[in-house]
């Protein structure tokens, strides 16, 4: 694959472009899905392809083709070159990353996962469904297990040449509980670069327990309440609020609520966030980023102070600084179909010293938010979204599920009102975070 990437780079440079990078990739996905407790589908797909990005006077052209056919690749090189020449010059583009050695990193590829056969994936998803459905109140279990393997070769015109193999293990379970006319679903998921058998049990159990917990339902009056954020809810929110907000391209264009906030206080003392592509078996871990910058840990928020944005070579060049290595080719298994964009690798929220039970105990009249799939408005830094799965907390006790309620808070207020940080973390949506308690958020309810 390196040879094909080398040839494509040479071909592009012969057309008079100034910079070029080529990603040659080969990936394979094995997925088994369960519907209502029965194995529904087993899939096997392979996806070789090549993505070519070229620059001419700072103007970027990108083309990709499926497969590794040499003629198709050369045709894609020509298209990318023609597109770059058609675009507008951009003096803000300085250069792609210099030649460097990819970081030596363990925990990207697991041979056991690579060798997993479809029968074994079926056995894992069956076990997951059995655990999630092990209660007479569970009427249906839908689940999936996916084992993926990817191999990439990345070459750029500055002499960077890197290869890496990556594996990914992803599981998901949704248990649906019924009691009379009441119905509720519990969901959980897990992703890692290695097969983790224990996660099959924890995800299944969690899906089942939350489905059953949600059968007991209540409404809530509109008002201000303390909110305990589960890592699932916090992970989804922070991936966009911090990952998207600290995107240097948005910041430089003045589109982010974090623009102009570098070295200013953003959150409480003790609120620490960093991005770490070197985490062993982390789903976003990588030896080099999507442009060939070697992976390294980067502190973003230190004791509440915003310390850094997320850069690629373009945004770093604009400020004459070094890229933070946050150019992403998308997901745990890289894709050749899109030009690289700035993204988190593994975002890590620092742990505190409160247990979940202590957070509950300290909450006399509040809400525990487990799941939301809402995005903050990154321009204003305001968040207003549905609490898809949340529970009432009264006198330190976890109560019934809250129906039809939303949470509203500005992100700076959220970071500044974190008053308890959990002592145990889990990964969700590319973010490793503990539970967090926010002292006050606006809840709109139907009560």
């Amino acid at each position: 694959m390196l040879g094909l990437a080398d040839k494509a780079v040479l071909h592009a440079m012969a057309f008079g472009v100034t910079d070029c990078d080529v990603l040659v990739s080969q990936s394979k996905y094995t997925t088994v899905e369960i519907e209502k407790g029965s194995v529904k589908q087993a899939s096997l797909s392979s996806d070789p392809g090549v993505g070519i990005r070229v620059f001419k006077n700072g103007s970027s052209g990108f083309a990709y083709c499926t497969g590794h056919d040499r003629r198709a690749v050369l045709r894609a090189v020509e298209l990318a070159t023609a597109f770059a020449k058609a675009g507008t010059p951009d003096p803000d583009f300085k250069s792609l990353p210099d030649k460097s050695a990819p970081r030596r990193l363990n925990g990207l590829f697991e041979a056991r996962l690579h060798e997993l056969g479809p029968d074994e994936v079926v056995a894992l998803v069956m076990e997951l469904a059995e655990v999630a459905g092990d209660d007479k109140r569970i009427a249906s279990v839908n689940a999936a297990v996916n084992a993926s393997v990817g191999e990439v070769a990345l070459v750029n015109s500055n002499g960077f040449r890197g290869t890496q193999r990556m594996t990914s293990f992803d599981i998901f379970a949704e248990a649906v509980a019924r009691s009379g006319t009441r119905m509720f679903s519990g969901y959980d998921a897990f992703s890692s670069r290695k097969l983790d058998h224990k996660s099959v049990q924890t995800v299944g159990l969690s899906a089942k327990e939350h489905a059953i917990m949600g059968l007991d339902q209540t409404k809530i009056e509109t008002g201000d309440y303390p909110v305990i954020l589960d890592p699932l809810g916090a992970g989804f929110l922070f991936a966009m609020a911090i990952g998207g907000g600290a995107n240097a391209d948005s910041v430089q264009r003045g589109r982010s609520y974090l623009a102009g906030k570098l070295e200013t206080r953003l959150g409480v003392e003790g609120f620490n966030v960093h991005d770490d592509p070197t985490l062993a078996w982390g789903n976003g871990s990588t030896a080099f980023d999507g442009e060939g910058t070697p992976a390294r840990k980067r502190i973003l928020i230190e004791n509440g102070i915003l310390r850094s944005y997320l850069h690629d070579s373009y945004t770093a060049g604009k400020e004459s600084i070094k890229s933070t290595g946050n150019s992403s080719r998308g997901g745990s298994i890289w894709s050749y179909r899109h030009p690289p964009v700035i993204s988190i690798s593994n975002l890590v929220v620092g742990k505190g010293d409160s247990s979940f039970d202590e957070m509950l105990k300290e909450t006399k009249d509040g809400v525990y938010l487990r799941v939301t799939f809402d995005y903050p408005n990154l321009a204003t830094g305001e968040f207003s979204g549905l609490m898809m799965e949340s529970y009432r907390v009264k006198k330190g006790e976890l109560g019934p599920a809250v129906r039809q309620a939303t949470m509203g808070i500005s992100l700076p207020e959220l970071f500044a009102s974190i008053d308890m940080i959990g002592d145990r973390s889990r990964d969700a949506f590319g973010v490793r975070t503990p539970h967090l308690r926010v002292s006050k958020a606006r809840i709109a309810g139907s009560g």
Partner: protein
């Protein structure tokens, strides 16, 4: 391609499949992103490949290859049959795929100006002009994004019933986002157009005003307040009514959610689920709309589906599997994003039908409430029965008069309650913005719409 398709289907059947189907695609496309007056990326895509399914006794096997040669496709067919056997061993729910009439058809969707015949310079010129239109609108517009997409695909859908549908499909889309800043406040506006058709779309008046529309929205929002949280009577505009139709009800009508035991609408056909007089329709047959298709991705002729008629639930959206298991005719609602994906049940153009109220009357009836305009995004969990969507703009309604402008309102509701709370339905029917609906890791082009409607007891989330 048809010969390759036939050989692959034969191989799947010889390998033990009771039913097999495939999608072979050859596609090309362009994507242009302009930011702040300069091109950010100009992308060319060249795709080809085949996805094939084999069915054995209640389970599916699927394999995909992006080397669509005869040997690779036939090998994928064998692989799909093997995967089906592996899955079938543990399938507890047994059923068969009901035989359907074989259809052989060649279709070319209407397209006056095929994107592949338009120079990239012309497409760039359009994207740059809309970007410039945003900046030129007002000095408070601080940052801009203009985007242009086109896609052309030749797709062969074939199955073991003998169906072979060959489709030439072209679609185009353009979108603008503007950020406006004033006195430390920043707001974003957006606008989009899309069609199944060619670059002629970019000459239409709405496409020519796209940048201006996005900039105007951002500028309007500069003069808005955070929305107050609480329960309100809400008047939804055409776009938000469409989102309600899609998110609040459409997804729960997808029969795969019913079979999975994950929709609150299971067992409710024939029951009252909405206010009297209200209708909800999914119609892929509206030519040129962004949700249009002639045959679905399983080779079934697309049809208009009435999901709710006069307040009563009438039916669901089906694919071959759900119709076989529920013993009704398939209604052509199965789509796959690409050959790399298996077809799943999707909406197309989803809307609430018109009523007989004038738009102004719908608003004048409200004593204390909100007018909700423009859709950003929404989502639903049919098993929890809850949905939410986020609007672009909200306005206070006091004694029938529209007043204070608000921003960042999110609306939430309960599937089985919201349509029963519809108080009035306007006669100003319109299909809204084109968009992409996400489900099961796949995206599908869709449109939604309807008239202005008034809904009681909507929970509005906000910061105030």
């Amino acid at each position: 391609l048809q010969d390759i398709a036939q050989k692959a289907i034969d191989r799947a059947l010889k390998s033990g499949a009771e039913f097999a189907d495939l999608r072979i695609e050859s596609a090309s496309g362009t994507n242009i992103v302009v930011m702040d007056g300069k091109t950010k990326t100009v992308t060319s895509q060249i795709e080809s490949g085949c996805g094939i399914r084999a069915f054995i006794g209640g389970a599916w096997g699927f394999a995909a290859t992006n080397t669509p040669t005869q040997s690779s496709v036939v090998a994928a067919a064998q692989s799909a049959a093997k995967m089906a056997r592996v899955a079938q061993k543990k399938a507890k729910i047994k059923f068969a795929i009901e035989q359907q009439r074989a259809e052989v058809k060649f279709e070319k969707y209407a397209c006056k100006e095929p994107p592949s015949e338009i120079p990239v310079e012309d497409k760039l010129s359009y994207a740059l002009s809309q970007d410039r239109a945003m900046k030129d609108r007002d000095s408070r517009v601080s940052s801009t994004n203009s985007r242009y997409d086109d896609f052309e695909v030749k797709r062969v859908v074939a199955n073991s019933f003998g169906t072979i549908i060959t489709t030439y499909e072209t679609w185009t889309l353009a979108a603008c986002s503007a950020w406006a800043r004033s006195e430390g406040i920043m707001q974003r506006g957006h606008a989009s157009v899309g069609n199944v058709g060619g670059c002629e779309l970019m000459k239409e008046e709405e496409s020519q005003r796209l940048g201006q529309s996005a900039a105007d929205q951002a500028l309007r929002l500069l003069e808005s307040k955070p929305v107050p949280a609480g329960k309100f009577t809400c008047v939804l505009d055409n776009k938000m009514t469409g989102m309600l139709a899609h998110e609040a009800f459409g997804h729960a009508c997808e029969a795969d959610a019913i079979l999975a035991g994950a929709s609150v609408l299971e067992g409710r056909i024939g029951q009252s689920v909405a206010a009297e007089g209200l209708s909800l329709v999914d119609d892929p047959t509206l030519e040129r709309t962004f949700g249009y298709f002639g045959y679905d991705w399983e080779g079934i002729r697309a049809k208009r589906h009435v999901l709710i008629e006069n307040g009563t639930l009438k039916g669901f959206l089906h694919n071959l599997e759900s119709s076989s298991r529920m013993r009704i005719k398939p209604n052509g609602s199965s789509r796959a994003q690409t050959y790399q994906n298996t077809p799943i049940i999707r909406m197309s153009n989803t809307y609430i039908g018109p009523g007989d109220w004038k738009k102004d009357e719908v608003i004048e009836e409200v004593r204390r409430g909100m007018l909700i305009q423009g859709n950003q995004y929404g989502y639903v969990e049919p098993a929890k029965g809850q949905f939410m969507f986020k609007c672009d703009e909200a306005y206070e309604i006091k004694d029938g008069i529209v007043g204070q402008r608000y921003r960042d309102a999110s609306l939430s509701g309960v599937i089985l309650e919201v349509l029963k709370n519809v108080r009035s339905v306007g006669n100003d029917f319109k299909l809204g913005d084109p968009g992409y609906c996400g489900k099961g890791g796949q995206s599908a082009r869709t449109t939604d719409g309807g008239p202005h409607i008034c809904v009681d007891h909507v929970v509005v989330g906000g910061l105030a």
